[in-house]
Symmetry: C3
Subunit: 314 residues, 3 copies
Amino acid sequence: MSWHRKHLLDIESLSAGEIVTVLDTARAFKAVGERAIKKVPALRGKTVVNLFIEPSTRTRISFELAAQRLTADIVNFSADASSFKKGETLKDTARNLEALNADFIIIRHSASGAPHFLSRVVNAHIINAGDGAHEHPTQALLDTFTIREKKGRIEGLNVTILGDILYSRVARSNIWALTKLGANVTLCGPSTLVPKTFEQMGCRVTHNMEEAIEHADIINLLRIQHERQRQTMFPSIGEYTTLFGLTKARLARTKPDALIMHPGPINRGVEIDSDIADSGRSLILEQVTNGLAVRMAVLFLVNGGPGPQGVAVG
Amino acid sequence: MSWHRKHLLDIESLSAGEIVTVLDTARAFKAVGERAIKKVPALRGKTVVNLFIEPSTRTRISFELAAQRLTADIVNFSADASSFKKGETLKDTARNLEALNADFIIIRHSASGAPHFLSRVVNAHIINAGDGAHEHPTQALLDTFTIREKKGRIEGLNVTILGDILYSRVARSNIWALTKLGANVTLCGPSTLVPKTFEQMGCRVTHNMEEAIEHADIINLLRIQHERQRQTMFPSIGEYTTLFGLTKARLARTKPDALIMHPGPINRGVEIDSDIADSGRSLILEQVTNGLAVRMAVLFLVNGGPGPQGVAVG
Amino acid sequence: MSWHRKHLLDIESLSAGEIVTVLDTARAFKAVGERAIKKVPALRGKTVVNLFIEPSTRTRISFELAAQRLTADIVNFSADASSFKKGETLKDTARNLEALNADFIIIRHSASGAPHFLSRVVNAHIINAGDGAHEHPTQALLDTFTIREKKGRIEGLNVTILGDILYSRVARSNIWALTKLGANVTLCGPSTLVPKTFEQMGCRVTHNMEEAIEHADIINLLRIQHERQRQTMFPSIGEYTTLFGLTKARLARTKPDALIMHPGPINRGVEIDSDIADSGRSLILEQVTNGLAVRMAVLFLVNGGPGPQGVAVG
């Protein structure tokens, strides 16, 4: 096992060995979720704070359940909380949480770098649950876990990420994780959302959907944030679907064992055909299940793993 | 004990024997709430999700405490949650919760039939906490429990339900439960809110308050939703109170052992005189206490009861 | 140990001996927060309700963690809850919570006296988490705990409270606690916010900042509620800072061992210079840590202390 980090701030700074350690640990925790009694005492008496300055029910609940299954205590501190209304700074909020003996702060924030900033001003373990357009490391770890579980490996696989790459922390974290583990990553979407500069991250960039998915083993569809970008980055949802939506016709021209992923929540009929989302080719719900296991693994590892008392996972 | 259902979706489909099983089980759980240590380990390591798409603090807290006292883990997912803002469907939300290994989904929703729909698309146990104007089964079970506890039986009792019957899921579920157990049910209120068609459910319908309560053993007053219906269904709150409010003068003409119920929250001075609500004739707070016991019983029974490990209630 | 109260409603009615009992008990609980496993089973199977009718994330989380560390079950009932929207009275809400077998109700309310009112209508233990401009007893207890811990005593110390005294429940509770324990309390701020009538509480009142802090052992800065009072009580934030802000120049003229307190959240650069807030002279974060210990102590004591089973704190 190779893990000596106190925080999980991003994927960029992790080694391939560290990523594999998370995936291996998550495999053990996935089994816990399948038991009748889905709890282990690994974090008993520890305090976890969900500091969500940007709303996210799904990710918040996933972390909340991960903490509960590790027998930690957890409190939620969400965006429209009174302290922020009163103008308190993020630093002051975090130091207050630390003063409450918080052992872990799970932070989602609209500002890139907020988790890194926190890790410098408090002693608690910091876990990045999404910071601006920068990174969403647990999403990339759960995506990588899911691919490895289904395909048996990451190295040499062709993974295509489709959609709004420019503003996507999911894309950035996935690119780091997948390239570190040896996958061939292709990015595709409208040229305004998928600039050629991403080639510097070791990816192939194309604006042609058919070409992007032709040889893919994995097609990871990002959510179109149509409530925000419609006016600015592409002419219409309809045009997006026409050019980049995963339809049955397009799926028919992919490799027969190509699998479909999506970080959710999906826009049925926009970036993905509704039937494909529900088909055996879709890994969307497995990603959710694996997310919980990965988050348990991350909490467990940053806490120091089994520790001197040797609390076993299994 | 006769209970083999995986879900609690409504009262309509339950047999009298199943209803009695819930009431008997709730009696054992009521004793747990009176202990110094109000917990039993029946659902340890199980995950309960409160999926409240329509706000309800009281019912949500009642289910939350019921789950805690059974030692389950519980997370709240409420109405203005981010996923719904982003346009995710109910089906997708529920399947995501299932992918998080949720064992129970307690759903309140403004759409009639939402719990039944969920029971067809996910494997978790579904408990209906109120669906539109359709049913609110745990409310009817706690009302029936309270009547049986006070009167010793249901069969042959005269139960009058007063108020907005047309739009009331509480009324519908109560009518099913009470008639299945042999009570004589009378409905009363303005003719716009208590149409004659309810006679098809086996009830007597009257629009005369005095006649409705004259021979009643139980008078169950529904809440007037005056924030919504004032303009449309009856001329004014004042007129409603004049015609259908339970005043001391009216109470004096009922049977001396007639008891008063209300699902809460009450409008003091509208559907009920404030002193009556606080009197020894009122069962309003006992209903709340019994609601918790009934919800523990429901969670326990849909989970399969004591199960192979034989976790005892007492 | 001298504690026989069922509730904590205010500081005004406590004796010096009772205050000291809370402080001594909190000292034992502070040690719990420093352990690897921060839990004691003192309130296992007890139900705590956070009834926050006025929003406060920080105080709510502090009580939530205090309850969790005592192994109680806790549910949150917050301000924009549906029942209040529907017009239910506070009394009815509290009696409903009691009917759910709530053992403790922690109440924050904009109306002075709300906790006292509750203590007369329900049987649960009531803890005042701030009522209007009246009292905020746990804040005063944590402030007093912090002073005693740092200075070794309260008696004979010069404590200066600065800012909006007139509308501050923190000031009122602190004045009661400090004068009961023998401190010399000085109040300072704009004359509109610090009327001479406070001398009747046994304090010195001055409107001259330099004079107020010159001999102080402790300077407790209250938060300026600039979002509310700007227009009415003083001409501008800038002028407040000029006259009453704690700047480095002013701090240089205080006793070298004078320590700085603030109930938080702070307005950096308004009532306190940012560097001072982060300096070794500031006790702001220690106050937060001590708040949790004090709240554990209060829950423990109103519950009857160690009780017949003799659950040990340590």
